[in-house]
């Protein structure tokens, strides 16, 4: 197990280098002037000053070298658009916000999706099942920004149940009402996804021989479900949830805009449009790291949960 983890961690380095190379070449390809945010042309002298300040006047391999050094020394450089902030500061202040939002969204997904999926599987082809599937389809079909706007309108403007926007500054504050609507809107997709997934895996598991054996042995159905069916069905869910958290970086963008949440998704998309190279680079590398870490954790967990995998690995 330890060698497995170490090997995975070492593999992270070439992956990150590849990510940096890809982002660097993509950003160079799309062109655009990072210093011209409005229609006003930038006078030549000022453009020269800015390019000198941000090393854009150096050859491409020098710039690439700077980026690699920046990433590996965790000094991701200044933002070109937000002149008084560094990428490190941006990441430190705003990444936890998006992380919290994504975790809460997945929590909603599990809270509602899991029971819905389980009950659907236990009562297949009943009204409950059809209702659950309908809910699932709606969750997939409705864009989350549409649901978000409706929620704000009905629950915050027409009735004063929730504030219309905002997010608590303290990461550990879970009492603030502002976290509910955004995470619910974002979580809609997860709810639908998990419900469907769990229903599918449970139905499949219930067809297995050992379940029939357990029933034949005379075990109570409830015990069969809790002890055997559920555990085995939830393994794919664990596998799915890992990368879902990896969506935290860009998936939250629209919700962050609508609810005025100071998260990293917003920064990322704005930075691409503004051609803020250092921010794009820094956040992409962060996203890559998050996905890699999430996958690693999931794979390790998988090893614990499924003895067959453990044996195959060693």
């Amino acid at each position: 197990m330890a060698t497995y983890i170490i090997r995975r961690v070492i593999w992270t380095i070439p992956v990150i280098l590849l990510v940096i190379l890809l982002i660097f070449s993509l950003m160079k390809q799309i062109g655009g002037n990072p210093f011209r945010q409005t229609e006003r042309a930038v006078p030549a002298q000022i453009q020269a000053n800015l390019e000198r300040k941000y090393n854009l006047n150096k050859p491409w391999y020098a710039q690439y070298g700077y980026y690699v050094k920046d990433v590996f020394t965790y000094d991701l450089g200044p933002s070109m658009r937000l002149r008084n902030r560094t990428v490190n500061q941006i990441v430190q202040e705003h990444f936890p916000v998006s992380l919290k939002l994504a975790i809460l969204a997945v929590a909603w997904g599990l809270l509602i999706g899991l029971p819905a999926g389980i009950l659907s599987a236990l009562k297949p082809n009943t009204l409950f099942d059809y209702g659950g599937q309908l809910f699932s389809n709606i969750g997939f079909a409705l864009p989350n920004f549409f649901v978000a706007t409706l929620l704000i309108y009905y629950l915050a403007v027409r009735n004063d149940f929730f504030p219309t926007n905002g997010w608590p500054t303290d990461f550990w504050d879970f009492n603030d009402k502002r976290i509910i609507l955004p995470s619910f809107a974002l979580g809609l997709f997860f709810m639908a996804y998990i419900a469907r997934l769990v229903r599918g895996t449970m139905l499949e598991t219930m067809q297995q021989d050992y379940v029939r054996t357990a029933k034949a042995k005379g075990l109570r159905w409830r015990r069969v479900v809790m002890r055997h069916v559920l555990r085995n069905s939830l393994i794919p869910v664990v596998t799915a949830v890992g990368p879902l958290i990896g969506l935290v970086i860009t998936g939250t963008f629209v919700i962050e805009i609508i609810f005025s949440i100071p998260g990293i998704g917003r920064y990322f998309v704005t930075a691409v449009g503004a051609r803020d190279f250092s921010v794009v680079m820094g956040i992409t590398v962060l996203a890559a790291l998050v996905v890699i870490l999430a996958n690693l954790v999931v794979d390790i967990l998988y090893g614990f949960l499924d003895p067959r995998t453990r044996e195959a690995r060693s």
């Binding site: 799309i30 704000i152 100071p262």
Partner: protein
């Protein structure tokens, strides 16, 4: 049974308590009692006991450093926490502020500001002329690479210093700004510039506190480090979330400022801003714009307010592609501006009749009364003109950036031009790509493009100089020597009436009877906003999109 009656008793007690709390809060005006807020009558109520408001800012300020800020949100926050030399009144005339007076020399190329002696920084230091010398040179320094350094290019030696690559100290000394004494600031310009004093109301001309900047470097604008000298202080700034300002009691005129506290919520999405306003979470928006889809509903509200905004929305022609001036004139005649304003833009914009917007001083003299820009269009004449064109370009590419609102206007114009036999293809582009496309010089594919120009200061030259041959903002390939000559001469003409005549001639070259029509101006901007009736009377956004919070007083109950 007992449990229920206890509960009832507790509930009744709570209700009584609640009523008591509500009854004691705020200042009741004129016995309106339970009725909702005042219905927007002009007399207003008495100043409320609690002078605190929450407003929505439309963006996170990219920087609160006067040397680095370029956008209006930053400018509005900065101008309230700092003390500019002059401020502009409702007629956009400069009025003394930190500068108690100013003098020009004979030809107007040297301006001497006399500063008040009671200006202070929040750490106790006095504000002196040296602060301005340091700050302006800092903004011009090549190391800072300030985007808006060009605002100060009217000062002698500024351009040279800003363009310097190494060993720049000597050039820094030659920049034409010096402190004659602690409270006298002498500015030497490259030429007489009658608009300079008005221009110095711009946030780029503010002073920064030298010791603080040198100590904290790029972090000097954080609330725990920042040192300011204006009516409000930056109490808190949660990036991308909120900006809170509190009145600074030691400001030189603090007794004239009513507001004690302005809580700012940064809300980037227009619809969310409106929703926050309607849920009474904020009492005012900052003029960042209302969603076009909601305009017709919002205009009917008491809380709706419309301000003048100096700016022109236009379509530019690539005159290398659309070579016949009659075609350009015809295309302009075919556009029914009033319909576009009434049905699409919906904020009572003013149909444009030239480049210089209504509200600029001298507008009546400068405006060319163009025969090619009737407000409701003139299709007949347009078709007649079009028939006279030898080789009309009938397949047109119309480019615009993909922000809300532009597409709808493009579709309307496409329809109007189809009456002339012109087949228009609309191309939307992402902003940065779009700007690359426009150059100048514009890509060959560009036949017509959409842009707007928002004025930096209230003189027509700011908009007219865009159309000179060398201007980096001229994407039309229009180059007229006579026009350039007029602009040059205007720069040297201090007398307003004479200068307005020159501007009028320049506008005539573009839009007059024999005008070349390099652009098709569509409308002059306006600034719609929402303000709670408790502050609507005193909340005012100036025509250069400037918000002065020292004028605002909360009157009566806020919702």
């Amino acid at each position: 049974m007992r449990k229920n009656s206890w509960l009832l008793l507790v509930a009744a007690l709570l209700a009584v308590l609640a009523l008591g709390v509500v009854g004691c809060g705020g200042d009741d005006d004129d016995g309106d009692g339970g009725a909702a807020q005042a219905t927007g009558e002009e007399e207003g109520g008495e100043p409320a006991a609690v002078q605190e408001i929450t407003m929505a800012w439309g963006a996170e300020p990219p920087s609160l450093d006067p040397g680095l800020a370029t956008d209006t949100t930053s400018a509005n926050v900065i101008l309230n926490i700092m003390d500019p030399l002059v401020v502009l009144d409702e007629n956009l005339e400069p009025q003394p502020n930190l500068a108690e007076s100013w003098e020009e020399n004979e030809d107007g190329s040297v301006i001497t500001y006399k500063l008040r002696q009671d200006g202070k920084w929040t750490n106790g230091d006095p504000v002196t002329a040296n602060d301005f010398v340091y700050s302006w040179k800092r903004t011009l320094s090549p190391e800072l690479a300030a985007d808006y350094a060009y605002q100060l290019y009217g000062i002698k030696g500024a351009l040279e210093y800003n363009s310097c690559e190494k060993n720049c100290e000597k050039l820094a000394d030659k920049v034409g700004v010096r402190a004659v004494d602690d409270y006298t600031l002498e500015v030497t310009l490259t030429s007489p510039q009658p608009w300079f004093v008005g221009q110095s109301a711009h946030h780029s001309f503010l002073a920064v506190h030298q010791a603080t900047v040198e100590q904290f470097g790029e972090q000097w604008t954080e609330p725990q480090n920042i040192v300011t000298n204006g009516p409000f202080q930056l109490e808190a700034w949660e990036h991308e979330a909120s900006i809170d300002l509190v009145k600074w009691p030691e400001w030189r005129n603090a007794d004239e400022v009513d507001l004690e506290r302005v809580n700012g919520r940064i809300i980037v999405d227009g619809t969310t801003r409106v929703q926050a306003f309607e849920a009474n979470e904020v009492q005012a928006l900052d003029g960042s714009g209302l969603p076009p889809a909601e305009m017709s509903r919002l205009k009917e509200l008491d809380e709706y307010e419309l301000y003048e905004y100096l700016g022109t929305y236009y379509y530019g022609f690539n005159i290398k592609n659309i070579t016949d001036v009659n075609q350009r004139r015809a295309m302009s005649l075919a556009v029914d501006r009033q319909t576009i304003i009434d049905n699409i833009a919906q904020a009572d914009q003013v149909p444009a009749t030239g480049m210089t917007p209504a509200g600029i001083r001298g507008f009546e003299d400068i405006n060319p009364d163009s025969p090619w820009t009737p407000a409701s269009g003139d299709l007949e004449q347009a078709q007649q003109l079009m028939d006279q064109v030898q080789n009309p370009k009938t397949d047109i590419n119309l480019f615009h950036n993909n922000a809300p609102g532009h597409r709808e206007i493009a579709v309307a114009v496409q329809d109007m031009w189809s009456e002339l036999g012109i087949n228009t293809t609309i191309r939307a582009q992402e902003w940065a790509q779009y700007l690359e496309f426009l150059g100048p010089p514009p890509s060959d594919q560009v036949d017509v493009y959409r842009l707007g120009w928002i004025y930096d200061f209230a003189d027509a030259i700011n908009g007219l100089e865009l159309w000179t041959c060398d201007s980096g903002n001229n994407n039309t390939n229009f180059c007229n020597e006579e026009f350039d000559g007029l602009i040059d001469e205007a720069r040297k003409t201090p007398d307003d009436a004479e200068r307005f005549q020159l501007y009028a001639q320049a506008e005539d070259i573009m839009f007059g009877e024999d005008g070349e029509m390099p652009i098709l101006p569509i409308y002059f901007y306006t600034l719609p906003n929402l303000e709670d009736t408790c502050i609507k009377d005193t909340f005012y956004i100036g025509a250069l999109n400037s918000l002065d919070l020292t004028d605002v007083t909360v009157q009566g109950e806020c919702a």
